[in-house]
């Protein structure tokens, strides 16, 4: 299984600022994903990050607000732009595991609080 790390693990930010979250995988993976999660609740997919192409965003999420980079097969970043308190959440990155079942490995998450 892949080991995924995220930085920062948590941050407190002022409204109107931006935060970039980094996600590093210890092996090459084709698909990476960014999710948002309120504590104790399920996962909401923000976007799928493909290496060498633009990220694919889910309904309700736009590139201007959540720009994503995927410069190689082991790394991705998610930026939360022009933050408001409503952006306070846990942000998780994941990678698709090899195989046919769409299984995913997850990073530990970034807990973001916007004041």
């Amino acid at each position: 299984s892949a080991v995924i790390s995220q930085k920062p693990s948590r941050d407190i930010c002022q409204r109107g600022t931006s935060l970039t979250i980094q996600c590093q995988v210890d092996s090459q993976v084709t698909m990476m994903f960014w999710y948002r999660q309120q504590p104790g609740q399920s996962l909401t997919l923000i976007a799928t990050a493909n290496q060498g192409s633009e990220a694919t965003y889910e309904s309700g999420f736009v590139i201007d607000k959540f720009p994503i980079s995927r410069p190689n097969l082991t790394f991705s970043t998610l930026t939360v732009s022009n933050m408001s308190p409503e952006d306070s959440s846990i942000y998780l990155c994941s990678a698709k595991a090899p195989g046919n079942f769409n299984e995913q490995f997850f990073g530990p998450g970034t807990r973001l609080t916007v004041l």
């Binding site: 995924i4 698909m31 994903f33 609740q41 399920s42 769409n102 998450g109």
Partner: protein, 112 residues
């Protein structure tokens, strides 16, 4: 629209008791996964069930896929405090080769 409904949403029981968590849908899935997430961590894959009627065991955890591949259950025998966490079921999205749909989760607390 594919939906996965989990029940119960929240369960708090004493150590040593048994429990069952359910994941139901009106859709047929090619496979279904169960994840456990502990506070401050990301979800960790526990098991994938593929065949209708399949039963898989992971120590005190027993996972079953429904015969029609529309539902699944997770049974924990003699629950321990280390079983505490958020349990999520997930299944491949019909319109995607790589994405998942997720259940709402079951928050489980095992009291010592």
């Amino acid at each position: 629209t594919q939906l996965l409904e989990q029940s119960p949403q929240f369960l708090s029981i004493q150590e040593g008791e048994n429990l069952t968590v359910y994941c139901n849908s009106s859709s047929v899935f090619s496979s279904l996964q169960w994840y456990r997430q502990e506070p401050g961590e990301g979800p960790v894959l526990l098991v994938t069930v593929v065949t209708g009627g399949e039963v898989k065991k992971l120590k005190r955890l027993t996972f079953q896929f429904g015969d029609a591949r529309k539902d699944s259950s997770l049974h924990i025998t003699a629950a321990q405090p280390g079983d505490t966490g958020l349990y999520l079921c997930a299944a491949p999205r019909r319109d995607s080769n790589y994405q998942l749909i997720w259940g709402a989760g079951t928050k489980l607390i095992i009291k010592p």
